[in-house]
Protein backbone atom coordinates (compact mmCIF):
# COMPACT_ATOMS: atom_id res chain seq x y z
CA UNK A 1 0.00 0.00 0.00
CA UNK A 2 1.47 3.38 -0.91
CA UNK A 3 1.64 5.68 2.08
CA UNK A 4 -0.85 8.53 2.24
CA UNK A 5 0.90 11.91 1.94
CA UNK A 6 -2.15 13.98 2.79
CA UNK A 7 -2.07 16.12 5.90
CA UNK A 8 -4.46 17.99 8.12
CA UNK A 9 -3.21 21.16 9.73
CA UNK A 10 -6.11 21.87 12.01
CA UNK A 11 -8.97 22.66 9.62
CA UNK A 12 -6.65 22.81 6.58
CA UNK A 13 -6.44 19.63 4.50
CA UNK A 14 -3.74 19.25 1.89
CA UNK A 15 -2.85 16.42 -0.44
CA UNK A 16 0.86 16.65 0.30
CA UNK A 17 2.94 17.86 3.24
CA UNK A 18 5.10 20.42 1.41
CA UNK A 19 4.17 24.00 0.59
CA UNK A 20 5.86 26.84 -1.21
CA UNK A 21 6.89 29.39 1.44
CA UNK A 22 5.70 32.98 1.25
CA UNK A 23 7.70 35.39 -0.86
CA UNK A 24 9.21 32.69 -3.02
CA UNK A 25 8.17 32.89 -6.70
CA UNK A 26 4.74 33.70 -5.35
CA UNK A 27 3.31 36.17 -7.78
CA UNK A 28 1.34 34.62 -10.62
CA UNK A 29 -1.39 31.99 -10.88
CA UNK A 30 0.46 30.21 -13.66
CA UNK A 31 3.52 29.76 -11.46
CA UNK A 32 1.34 28.58 -8.58
CA UNK A 33 -0.18 25.99 -10.87
CA UNK A 34 3.22 24.80 -12.01
CA UNK A 35 4.47 24.42 -8.43
CA UNK A 36 1.33 22.63 -7.38
CA UNK A 37 1.62 20.21 -10.27
CA UNK A 38 5.24 19.65 -9.28
CA UNK A 39 4.23 18.32 -5.91
CA UNK A 40 3.54 21.13 -3.47
CA UNK A 41 0.45 20.56 -1.34
CA UNK A 42 -0.26 24.28 -1.39
CA UNK A 43 1.41 27.54 -2.28
CA UNK A 44 1.65 30.56 -0.04
CA UNK A 45 1.49 33.92 -1.79
CA UNK A 46 3.95 36.73 -1.25
CA UNK A 47 2.87 38.77 1.74
CA UNK A 48 0.30 41.23 0.46
CA UNK A 49 -0.30 44.68 1.83
CA UNK A 50 -3.21 47.07 1.43
CA UNK A 51 -1.46 49.05 -1.28
CA UNK A 52 1.13 47.84 -3.80
CA UNK A 53 4.71 48.13 -2.55
CA UNK A 54 7.81 48.48 -4.72
CA UNK A 55 10.15 47.15 -2.06
CA UNK A 56 13.77 48.19 -1.62
CA UNK A 57 16.30 48.80 -4.37
CA UNK A 58 18.66 45.96 -5.24
CA UNK A 59 20.69 44.21 -3.91
CA UNK A 60 17.70 42.65 -2.19
CA UNK A 61 18.80 39.01 -2.22
CA UNK A 62 22.30 37.57 -2.04
CA UNK A 63 23.74 34.19 -1.25
CA UNK A 64 25.78 33.59 1.88
CA UNK A 65 27.72 30.49 2.88
CA UNK A 66 24.73 28.51 4.07
CA UNK A 67 21.70 30.25 2.77
CA UNK A 68 20.49 33.61 1.62
CA UNK A 69 20.14 37.11 2.98
CA UNK A 70 17.20 39.08 1.73
CA UNK A 71 15.60 42.42 2.29
CA UNK A 72 13.11 42.52 -0.53
CA UNK A 73 11.06 45.01 1.42
CA UNK A 74 7.86 43.05 0.93
CA UNK A 75 7.41 44.23 -2.64
CA UNK A 76 3.95 43.10 -3.70
CA UNK A 77 1.13 44.17 -6.00
CA UNK A 78 -1.27 44.81 -3.14
CA UNK A 79 -4.14 42.68 -1.89
CA UNK A 80 -6.82 44.12 -4.20
CA UNK A 81 -4.78 43.44 -7.34
CA UNK A 82 -3.84 39.96 -6.17
CA UNK A 83 -7.41 39.10 -5.20
CA UNK A 84 -8.64 40.10 -8.64
CA UNK A 85 -6.06 37.81 -10.22
CA UNK A 86 -6.96 34.98 -7.86
CA UNK A 87 -10.59 34.96 -8.84
CA UNK A 88 -9.79 32.84 -11.87
CA UNK A 89 -7.99 30.22 -9.78
CA UNK A 90 -9.65 26.85 -10.19
CA UNK A 91 -7.72 24.07 -8.58
CA UNK A 92 -4.62 25.30 -6.77
CA UNK A 93 -4.75 25.47 -2.96
CA UNK A 94 -3.50 29.00 -2.30
CA UNK A 95 -2.71 30.31 1.14
CA UNK A 96 -2.88 34.09 1.09
CA UNK A 97 -0.17 35.79 3.14
CA UNK A 98 -1.06 39.20 4.53
CA UNK A 99 1.05 41.87 6.17
CA UNK A 100 -0.04 45.09 7.80
CA UNK A 101 0.21 47.18 10.91
CA UNK A 102 -3.32 47.38 12.33
CA UNK A 103 -6.35 45.14 12.37
CA UNK A 104 -8.36 47.41 10.06
CA UNK A 105 -5.87 46.89 7.28
CA UNK A 106 -6.19 43.13 7.63
CA UNK A 107 -9.96 43.29 7.56
CA UNK A 108 -9.83 45.45 4.44
CA UNK A 109 -7.55 42.96 2.75
CA UNK A 110 -9.57 39.90 3.68
CA UNK A 111 -12.67 41.53 2.23
CA UNK A 112 -10.93 41.72 -1.16
CA UNK A 113 -10.89 37.94 -1.36
CA UNK A 114 -14.63 37.43 -0.97
CA UNK A 115 -14.92 35.93 -4.45
CA UNK A 116 -11.82 33.78 -4.16
CA UNK A 117 -11.22 30.28 -3.03
CA UNK A 118 -8.75 30.89 -0.18
CA UNK A 119 -7.31 27.76 1.42
CA UNK A 120 -6.15 29.79 4.42
CA UNK A 121 -4.74 33.15 5.39
CA UNK A 122 -1.21 33.29 6.74
CA UNK A 123 -0.57 36.44 8.74
CA UNK A 124 3.03 37.54 8.45
CA UNK A 125 3.81 38.65 12.01
CA UNK A 126 7.51 38.29 11.52
CA UNK A 127 9.16 40.00 8.57
CA UNK A 128 12.51 41.08 9.98
CA UNK A 129 13.32 43.91 7.59
CA UNK A 130 10.27 46.11 7.18
CA UNK A 131 9.47 48.56 9.93
CA UNK A 132 5.96 48.92 11.39
CA UNK A 133 4.79 45.61 9.96
CA UNK A 134 6.24 42.15 10.41
CA UNK A 135 8.32 41.61 13.53
CA UNK A 136 7.26 44.88 15.10
CA UNK A 137 3.73 43.51 15.00
CA UNK A 138 4.79 40.07 16.20
CA UNK A 139 6.65 41.68 19.09
CA UNK A 140 3.42 43.23 20.32
CA UNK A 141 1.32 40.29 21.59
CA UNK A 142 -1.77 42.42 22.28
CA UNK A 143 -1.80 43.68 18.72
CA UNK A 144 -1.32 40.13 17.45
CA UNK A 145 -4.41 38.95 19.33
CA UNK A 146 -6.40 41.86 17.94
CA UNK A 147 -5.31 41.25 14.37
CA UNK A 148 -5.90 37.51 14.46
CA UNK A 149 -9.32 37.80 16.01
CA UNK A 150 -10.35 40.48 13.53
CA UNK A 151 -9.28 38.31 10.62
CA UNK A 152 -11.04 35.32 12.16
CA UNK A 153 -14.27 37.28 12.40
CA UNK A 154 -13.91 38.54 8.81
CA UNK A 155 -13.64 35.18 7.12
CA UNK A 156 -14.50 31.51 7.44
CA UNK A 157 -11.14 30.48 6.01
CA UNK A 158 -8.58 29.10 8.47
CA UNK A 159 -6.06 31.57 9.83
CA UNK A 160 -2.36 30.84 10.36
CA UNK A 161 -0.01 33.08 12.31
CA UNK A 162 3.58 33.14 11.03
CA UNK A 163 6.13 33.82 13.73
CA UNK A 164 9.85 34.41 13.88
CA UNK A 165 12.60 35.40 16.28
CA UNK A 166 11.99 39.00 17.23
CA UNK A 167 12.70 41.07 20.29
CA UNK A 168 10.14 39.43 22.54
CA UNK A 169 9.68 35.78 23.32
CA UNK A 170 8.20 34.32 20.13
CA UNK A 171 6.29 31.85 22.31
CA UNK A 172 4.31 34.82 23.64
CA UNK A 173 3.47 35.75 20.07
CA UNK A 174 2.27 32.21 19.48
CA UNK A 175 0.14 32.44 22.61
CA UNK A 176 -1.28 35.77 21.47
CA UNK A 177 -2.18 34.28 18.09
CA UNK A 178 -3.85 31.33 19.79
CA UNK A 179 -5.78 33.73 22.01
CA UNK A 180 -6.95 35.53 18.87
CA UNK A 181 -8.24 32.24 17.49
CA UNK A 182 -5.46 31.18 15.12
CA UNK A 183 -5.93 27.71 13.62
CA UNK A 184 -2.24 27.05 13.07
CA UNK A 185 1.23 28.55 13.34
CA UNK A 186 3.98 28.74 10.75
CA UNK A 187 7.47 28.81 12.25
CA UNK A 188 9.78 30.45 11.36
CA UNK A 189 10.41 33.46 9.17
CA UNK A 190 13.94 34.56 8.28
CA UNK A 191 16.23 35.65 11.13
CA UNK A 192 17.45 39.25 11.21
CA UNK A 193 20.97 39.23 9.85
CA UNK A 194 23.49 41.11 7.77
CA UNK A 195 26.47 40.64 5.50
CA UNK A 196 29.25 43.11 4.73
CA UNK A 197 31.47 43.05 1.67
CA UNK A 198 35.05 43.08 2.92
CA UNK A 199 36.55 44.71 -0.15
CA UNK A 200 34.26 47.77 -0.11
CA UNK A 201 33.34 47.60 3.60
CA UNK A 202 29.73 48.04 2.54
CA UNK A 203 26.65 46.09 3.62
CA UNK A 204 25.57 43.88 0.73
CA UNK A 205 21.87 44.62 0.98
CA UNK A 206 20.58 48.07 0.10
CA UNK A 207 18.51 47.90 3.29
CA UNK A 208 21.69 46.83 5.17
CA UNK A 209 19.86 44.47 7.51
CA UNK A 210 17.80 41.63 6.11
CA UNK A 211 16.70 38.13 6.94
CA UNK A 212 18.73 34.93 6.90
CA UNK A 213 17.08 31.89 5.32
CA UNK A 214 18.18 28.49 4.10
CA UNK A 215 20.01 25.61 5.72
CA UNK A 216 21.82 27.93 8.14
CA UNK A 217 18.61 28.47 10.12
CA UNK A 218 17.26 24.93 10.03
CA UNK A 219 18.41 23.86 13.52
CA UNK A 220 16.88 27.03 14.98
CA UNK A 221 13.60 26.48 13.15
CA UNK A 222 13.41 22.83 14.22
CA UNK A 223 13.91 23.94 17.80
CA UNK A 224 11.06 26.46 17.52
CA UNK A 225 8.67 23.85 16.11
CA UNK A 226 9.63 21.52 18.94
CA UNK A 227 9.13 24.21 21.57
CA UNK A 228 5.80 25.46 20.24
CA UNK A 229 4.28 22.03 19.90
CA UNK A 230 5.61 21.04 23.31
CA UNK A 231 4.06 24.05 24.96
CA UNK A 232 0.82 24.61 23.05
CA UNK A 233 -1.79 22.43 21.50
CA UNK A 234 -1.83 23.97 18.03
CA UNK A 235 -0.76 22.55 14.68
CA UNK A 236 2.50 23.98 13.37
CA UNK A 237 3.86 24.29 9.85
CA UNK A 238 7.65 24.05 9.90
CA UNK A 239 9.66 26.45 7.77
CA UNK A 240 13.34 27.29 7.57
CA UNK A 241 16.02 25.47 5.64
CA UNK A 242 13.96 22.57 4.34
CA UNK A 243 15.76 21.32 1.25
CA UNK A 244 15.53 17.54 1.38
CA UNK A 245 13.14 14.86 2.54
CA UNK A 246 15.34 14.33 5.58
CA UNK A 247 14.90 17.99 6.51
CA UNK A 248 11.14 17.72 6.06
CA UNK A 249 10.99 14.66 8.29
CA UNK A 250 13.17 16.34 10.91
CA UNK A 251 10.51 19.05 11.19
CA UNK A 252 7.72 16.50 11.28
CA UNK A 253 9.43 14.52 14.05
CA UNK A 254 9.89 17.80 15.93
CA UNK A 255 6.13 18.28 15.79
CA UNK A 256 5.32 19.95 12.46
CA UNK A 257 2.14 18.87 10.68
CA UNK A 258 3.56 20.04 7.34
CA UNK A 259 6.51 22.03 6.01
CA UNK A 260 7.18 25.00 3.78
CA UNK A 261 10.08 25.25 1.36
CA UNK A 262 11.62 28.58 0.44
CA UNK A 263 15.31 29.09 -0.28
CA UNK A 264 15.83 25.53 -1.46
CA UNK A 265 13.91 26.46 -4.60
CA UNK A 266 16.89 28.65 -5.49
CA UNK A 267 19.29 25.73 -5.09
CA UNK A 268 17.26 22.75 -6.23
CA UNK A 269 14.55 24.41 -8.32
CA UNK A 270 10.90 23.39 -8.42
CA UNK A 271 11.74 19.68 -8.50
CA UNK A 272 12.50 20.01 -4.79
CA UNK A 273 8.83 19.38 -4.00
CA UNK A 274 8.52 16.08 -5.79
CA UNK A 275 11.94 15.01 -4.50
CA UNK A 276 10.82 15.61 -0.92
CA UNK A 277 7.50 13.83 -1.45
CA UNK A 278 9.27 10.86 -2.97
CA UNK A 279 11.81 10.65 -0.17
CA UNK A 280 9.09 10.78 2.46
CA UNK A 281 7.14 8.08 0.65
CA UNK A 282 10.19 5.80 0.58
CA UNK A 283 10.87 6.41 4.24
CA UNK A 284 7.27 5.63 5.18
CA UNK A 285 7.39 2.45 3.14
CA UNK A 286 10.63 1.37 4.76
CA UNK A 287 9.45 2.17 8.27
CA UNK A 288 5.88 1.02 7.84
CA UNK A 289 4.07 4.31 8.32
CA UNK A 290 0.84 4.75 6.43
CA UNK A 291 -0.01 8.37 7.23
CA UNK A 292 2.02 11.52 7.86
CA UNK A 293 0.15 12.15 11.08
CA UNK A 294 1.64 9.00 12.58
CA UNK A 295 5.05 10.64 12.39
CA UNK A 296 4.23 14.07 13.77
CA UNK A 297 6.17 14.78 16.95
CA UNK A 298 7.83 11.36 17.22
CA UNK A 299 11.03 12.95 18.60
CA UNK A 300 9.10 13.79 21.75
CA UNK A 301 9.06 10.16 22.82
CA UNK A 302 12.67 10.60 23.86
Amino acid sequence: MTPDLSVSIGPISLGRPTMLASGILGISLEVFGRIYRNGAGAVVSKSLSKEPWEGYPNPTIIGVKNGYLNAVGLSNPGAPYFAKMMESNRDVPIIVSLVGSIEDEFEFMVKQFENCNVTAYELNLSCPHVEKVGLEVGDDPKLVTKIVSRVKSSTRAPVIGKVGLGTTNYLDTVKAAIDGGADAITAINTIRAMGIDVETQRPFLSHKIGGLSGSAIKPVAVRCVYEITSKYNIPVIGCGGVSSWEDALEFIFAGASAVQVGSAVGDRWIEVFSEINEGITNYMNKKGFSKISEMVGLAKRF
Binding site: V31, I62, G63, G266
Partner: protein, 270 residues
Protein backbone atom coordinates in the same frame (compact mmCIF):
# COMPACT_ATOMS: atom_id res chain seq x y z
CA UNK B 1 30.74 22.60 -14.65
CA UNK B 2 30.34 26.33 -14.40
CA UNK B 3 31.23 28.15 -11.21
CA UNK B 4 28.05 29.96 -10.25
CA UNK B 5 28.41 32.60 -7.57
CA UNK B 6 25.46 33.86 -5.55
CA UNK B 7 27.38 36.46 -3.55
CA UNK B 8 28.71 39.60 -5.24
CA UNK B 9 32.47 39.63 -5.85
CA UNK B 10 34.09 43.01 -6.27
CA UNK B 11 35.81 43.75 -9.57
CA UNK B 12 37.75 46.83 -10.60
CA UNK B 13 36.94 48.51 -13.90
CA UNK B 14 40.07 48.23 -15.99
CA UNK B 15 39.00 49.92 -19.18
CA UNK B 16 36.09 52.01 -20.39
CA UNK B 17 35.25 52.03 -24.10
CA UNK B 18 32.93 54.63 -25.61
CA UNK B 19 30.79 52.79 -28.14
CA UNK B 20 28.33 55.58 -28.98
CA UNK B 21 27.42 58.84 -27.23
CA UNK B 22 25.12 56.80 -24.89
CA UNK B 23 26.72 53.35 -24.81
CA UNK B 24 29.91 52.34 -23.04
CA UNK B 25 31.69 49.07 -22.44
CA UNK B 26 33.32 48.38 -19.06
CA UNK B 27 36.05 45.77 -18.94
CA UNK B 28 36.91 43.68 -15.86
CA UNK B 29 38.98 40.59 -15.12
CA UNK B 30 36.84 37.57 -14.23
CA UNK B 31 37.68 34.06 -15.33
CA UNK B 32 34.22 32.72 -14.67
CA UNK B 33 32.32 35.48 -16.44
CA UNK B 34 34.80 35.52 -19.32
CA UNK B 35 33.61 32.12 -20.47
CA UNK B 36 29.85 32.17 -20.00
CA UNK B 37 27.49 30.71 -22.57
CA UNK B 38 25.67 32.98 -25.02
CA UNK B 39 22.51 34.30 -23.35
CA UNK B 40 23.77 34.07 -19.79
CA UNK B 41 23.88 37.15 -17.65
CA UNK B 42 25.29 38.49 -14.39
CA UNK B 43 23.83 40.66 -11.65
CA UNK B 44 25.93 43.81 -11.55
CA UNK B 45 26.06 45.75 -8.31
CA UNK B 46 26.76 49.44 -8.53
CA UNK B 47 27.50 50.01 -4.84
CA UNK B 48 25.18 52.55 -3.27
CA UNK B 49 22.90 52.61 -6.30
CA UNK B 50 21.37 49.32 -7.45
CA UNK B 51 22.08 45.87 -8.75
CA UNK B 52 20.90 45.21 -12.31
CA UNK B 53 21.02 42.27 -14.69
CA UNK B 54 23.54 42.63 -17.51
CA UNK B 55 24.51 40.42 -20.39
CA UNK B 56 28.20 39.62 -20.46
CA UNK B 57 30.11 41.03 -23.41
CA UNK B 58 32.74 38.84 -25.03
CA UNK B 59 36.28 40.21 -24.98
CA UNK B 60 39.21 39.15 -27.17
CA UNK B 61 41.61 38.68 -24.21
CA UNK B 62 41.50 35.57 -22.02
CA UNK B 63 40.03 36.10 -18.56
CA UNK B 64 38.36 39.40 -19.43
CA UNK B 65 34.65 40.08 -19.32
CA UNK B 66 32.73 43.26 -20.00
CA UNK B 67 29.37 44.95 -19.69
CA UNK B 68 28.00 47.15 -22.42
CA UNK B 69 25.59 49.65 -20.99
CA UNK B 70 23.20 52.09 -22.47
CA UNK B 71 22.65 55.17 -20.31
CA UNK B 72 18.95 55.17 -19.48
CA UNK B 73 17.54 55.54 -15.98
CA UNK B 74 19.23 55.98 -12.64
CA UNK B 75 21.12 52.70 -12.39
CA UNK B 76 22.32 52.36 -15.93
CA UNK B 77 23.47 55.98 -15.80
CA UNK B 78 25.37 55.35 -12.58
CA UNK B 79 27.11 52.41 -14.22
CA UNK B 80 27.71 54.44 -17.38
CA UNK B 81 29.41 57.16 -15.36
CA UNK B 82 31.93 54.88 -13.62
CA UNK B 83 35.64 55.45 -14.30
CA UNK B 84 38.64 53.17 -14.62
CA UNK B 85 39.69 52.05 -11.12
CA UNK B 86 36.19 52.19 -9.64
CA UNK B 87 34.57 49.04 -8.36
CA UNK B 88 31.44 47.04 -9.09
CA UNK B 89 30.16 43.75 -7.70
CA UNK B 90 29.27 40.83 -9.93
CA UNK B 91 27.53 37.55 -9.31
CA UNK B 92 26.60 34.87 -11.79
CA UNK B 93 26.56 33.62 -14.45
CA UNK B 94 22.84 32.86 -14.44
CA UNK B 95 20.27 31.64 -16.90
CA UNK B 96 20.21 29.24 -19.84
CA UNK B 97 21.74 29.82 -23.26
CA UNK B 98 21.03 29.79 -26.97
CA UNK B 99 20.78 26.47 -28.71
CA UNK B 100 22.97 26.88 -31.79
CA UNK B 101 21.65 25.03 -34.83
CA UNK B 102 23.65 23.96 -37.86
CA UNK B 103 23.60 25.87 -41.13
CA UNK B 104 22.63 29.39 -41.94
CA UNK B 105 21.60 31.44 -38.96
CA UNK B 106 20.43 35.00 -38.48
CA UNK B 107 21.25 37.04 -35.40
CA UNK B 108 18.94 40.00 -35.06
CA UNK B 109 19.69 42.56 -32.42
CA UNK B 110 19.11 46.11 -31.42
CA UNK B 111 21.31 48.22 -29.15
CA UNK B 112 22.72 46.40 -26.14
CA UNK B 113 20.74 43.36 -27.25
CA UNK B 114 23.76 42.74 -29.47
CA UNK B 115 25.79 41.66 -26.43
CA UNK B 116 24.47 38.09 -26.16
CA UNK B 117 24.34 37.83 -29.96
CA UNK B 118 28.06 38.59 -30.32
CA UNK B 119 28.81 35.90 -27.78
CA UNK B 120 26.59 33.58 -29.80
CA UNK B 121 28.66 34.50 -32.87
CA UNK B 122 31.77 33.59 -30.92
CA UNK B 123 30.24 30.16 -30.18
CA UNK B 124 29.13 29.64 -33.81
CA UNK B 125 29.83 26.17 -35.21
CA UNK B 126 32.27 25.78 -38.09
CA UNK B 127 29.40 24.98 -40.44
CA UNK B 128 27.40 28.09 -39.54
CA UNK B 129 26.87 30.85 -42.05
CA UNK B 130 26.05 33.89 -39.97
CA UNK B 131 23.97 36.90 -40.93
CA UNK B 132 24.03 39.59 -38.27
CA UNK B 133 21.38 42.28 -38.42
CA UNK B 134 22.16 45.27 -36.23
CA UNK B 135 19.46 47.87 -35.69
CA UNK B 136 19.82 51.42 -34.44
CA UNK B 137 18.21 54.83 -34.75
CA UNK B 138 21.00 56.57 -36.64
CA UNK B 139 24.64 56.42 -37.64
CA UNK B 140 26.13 57.56 -34.34
CA UNK B 141 24.24 54.81 -32.51
CA UNK B 142 25.92 52.05 -34.51
CA UNK B 143 28.48 49.99 -32.58
CA UNK B 144 30.11 46.55 -32.43
CA UNK B 145 30.42 46.29 -36.21
CA UNK B 146 34.18 45.93 -36.04
CA UNK B 147 34.02 43.44 -33.13
CA UNK B 148 31.45 41.39 -35.04
CA UNK B 149 33.64 41.25 -38.13
CA UNK B 150 36.59 40.19 -35.99
CA UNK B 151 34.64 37.48 -34.16
CA UNK B 152 33.16 36.10 -37.39
CA UNK B 153 36.32 36.35 -39.49
CA UNK B 154 36.59 32.56 -39.88
CA UNK B 155 32.96 32.12 -40.83
CA UNK B 156 31.06 32.90 -43.96
CA UNK B 157 29.20 35.94 -42.69
CA UNK B 158 27.37 39.12 -43.50
CA UNK B 159 26.83 42.09 -41.23
CA UNK B 160 23.92 44.35 -42.03
CA UNK B 161 23.48 47.61 -40.19
CA UNK B 162 20.06 49.18 -40.33
CA UNK B 163 19.35 52.73 -39.20
CA UNK B 164 15.87 54.08 -38.81
CA UNK B 165 16.88 57.40 -40.41
CA UNK B 166 18.99 55.80 -43.10
CA UNK B 167 22.17 57.66 -42.11
CA UNK B 168 24.11 54.39 -42.18
CA UNK B 169 23.63 51.00 -43.81
CA UNK B 170 20.12 50.01 -44.80
CA UNK B 171 17.30 52.33 -43.99
CA UNK B 172 14.48 51.06 -41.79
CA UNK B 173 13.79 48.70 -38.92
CA UNK B 174 15.68 45.41 -38.58
CA UNK B 175 12.34 43.64 -38.78
CA UNK B 176 11.68 45.09 -42.24
CA UNK B 177 15.16 44.18 -43.42
CA UNK B 178 14.79 40.68 -41.98
CA UNK B 179 11.44 40.35 -43.72
CA UNK B 180 13.06 41.08 -47.08
CA UNK B 181 15.91 38.67 -46.37
CA UNK B 182 13.52 35.89 -45.51
CA UNK B 183 11.85 36.27 -48.89
CA UNK B 184 15.09 35.56 -50.70
CA UNK B 185 17.17 33.28 -48.46
CA UNK B 186 16.53 30.18 -46.40
CA UNK B 187 17.58 30.32 -42.73
CA UNK B 188 17.98 27.38 -40.37
CA UNK B 189 17.55 29.45 -37.25
CA UNK B 190 17.00 32.98 -36.04
CA UNK B 191 18.24 34.39 -32.73
CA UNK B 192 17.17 37.71 -31.37
CA UNK B 193 17.71 40.03 -28.47
CA UNK B 194 16.57 43.62 -28.10
CA UNK B 195 13.38 45.58 -27.49
CA UNK B 196 10.53 43.18 -26.80
CA UNK B 197 8.28 44.61 -29.49
CA UNK B 198 11.02 43.92 -32.03
CA UNK B 199 11.58 40.39 -30.71
CA UNK B 200 7.86 39.74 -30.74
CA UNK B 201 7.67 40.63 -34.43
CA UNK B 202 10.69 38.52 -35.28
CA UNK B 203 9.32 35.51 -33.43
CA UNK B 204 6.02 35.86 -35.29
CA UNK B 205 7.80 36.10 -38.63
CA UNK B 206 9.96 33.05 -37.91
CA UNK B 207 7.08 31.02 -36.53
CA UNK B 208 4.94 31.77 -39.53
CA UNK B 209 7.73 30.50 -41.80
CA UNK B 210 8.47 27.51 -39.58
CA UNK B 211 12.02 28.66 -38.84
CA UNK B 212 13.54 27.74 -35.47
CA UNK B 213 13.74 30.91 -33.42
CA UNK B 214 14.96 31.89 -29.97
CA UNK B 215 14.74 35.18 -28.13
CA UNK B 216 16.53 36.37 -25.02
CA UNK B 217 14.09 38.26 -22.80
CA UNK B 218 14.38 40.99 -20.20
CA UNK B 219 12.25 41.25 -17.08
CA UNK B 220 12.55 43.00 -13.74
CA UNK B 221 15.08 40.94 -11.80
CA UNK B 222 15.94 40.94 -8.12
CA UNK B 223 17.51 37.64 -7.21
CA UNK B 224 18.47 36.41 -10.68
CA UNK B 225 18.37 32.83 -9.42
CA UNK B 226 14.74 31.76 -9.29
CA UNK B 227 13.72 32.70 -5.77
CA UNK B 228 11.93 36.03 -5.68
CA UNK B 229 9.50 35.67 -8.57
CA UNK B 230 9.92 39.24 -9.79
CA UNK B 231 10.91 38.11 -13.30
CA UNK B 232 7.98 35.80 -13.80
CA UNK B 233 6.24 35.59 -17.17
CA UNK B 234 3.33 33.20 -17.52
CA UNK B 235 4.53 30.14 -15.57
CA UNK B 236 8.26 30.64 -16.05
CA UNK B 237 10.97 32.62 -14.31
CA UNK B 238 12.87 34.47 -16.99
CA UNK B 239 16.06 34.43 -14.87
CA UNK B 240 16.04 30.68 -14.33
CA UNK B 241 13.96 29.08 -17.08
CA UNK B 242 15.33 31.68 -19.54
CA UNK B 243 16.41 34.20 -20.49
CA UNK B 244 16.35 32.31 -23.80
CA UNK B 245 13.00 30.90 -24.96
CA UNK B 246 11.93 29.06 -28.10
CA UNK B 247 9.48 30.45 -30.61
CA UNK B 248 6.99 27.72 -29.80
CA UNK B 249 6.80 28.66 -26.16
CA UNK B 250 6.71 32.37 -26.93
CA UNK B 251 3.86 31.95 -29.43
CA UNK B 252 1.69 30.63 -26.59
CA UNK B 253 2.75 33.23 -24.06
CA UNK B 254 0.04 35.58 -22.85
CA UNK B 255 2.63 38.09 -21.72
CA UNK B 256 5.47 38.09 -24.27
CA UNK B 257 5.27 41.25 -26.33
CA UNK B 258 2.37 42.58 -24.33
CA UNK B 259 3.04 42.94 -20.63
CA UNK B 260 5.85 42.89 -18.08
CA UNK B 261 5.83 43.28 -14.32
CA UNK B 262 6.69 46.43 -12.39
CA UNK B 263 8.71 46.32 -9.19
CA UNK B 264 5.58 45.65 -7.16
CA UNK B 265 4.72 42.73 -9.42
CA UNK B 266 1.82 44.49 -11.14
CA UNK B 267 1.52 43.69 -14.84
CA UNK B 268 2.12 46.69 -17.10
CA UNK B 269 1.65 46.97 -20.82
CA UNK B 270 4.63 47.49 -23.08
Amino acid sequence: MQNVSKTPSIRTIEQVIDETPTVRTFVISDNDLANVLPGQFAMVWIPGVNEIPMSIMVMPENGKAAFTVRKRGVSSSALYDLKVGQQIGVRGPYGNSFDIKDGKIALVGGGTGLVPLLRLAKFAKPNNEVVLLMGSKSKDEVFFEQQANQILKNHKHQIISCTEDGTYGEKGFVTDVLGKLLETSKFDAIYTCGPEIMMHKIVQMANSKGIFVQASLERMMKCGIGICGSCCMDDVMVCHDGTVFDGGFLANSKEFGHTHRAKSGILENY
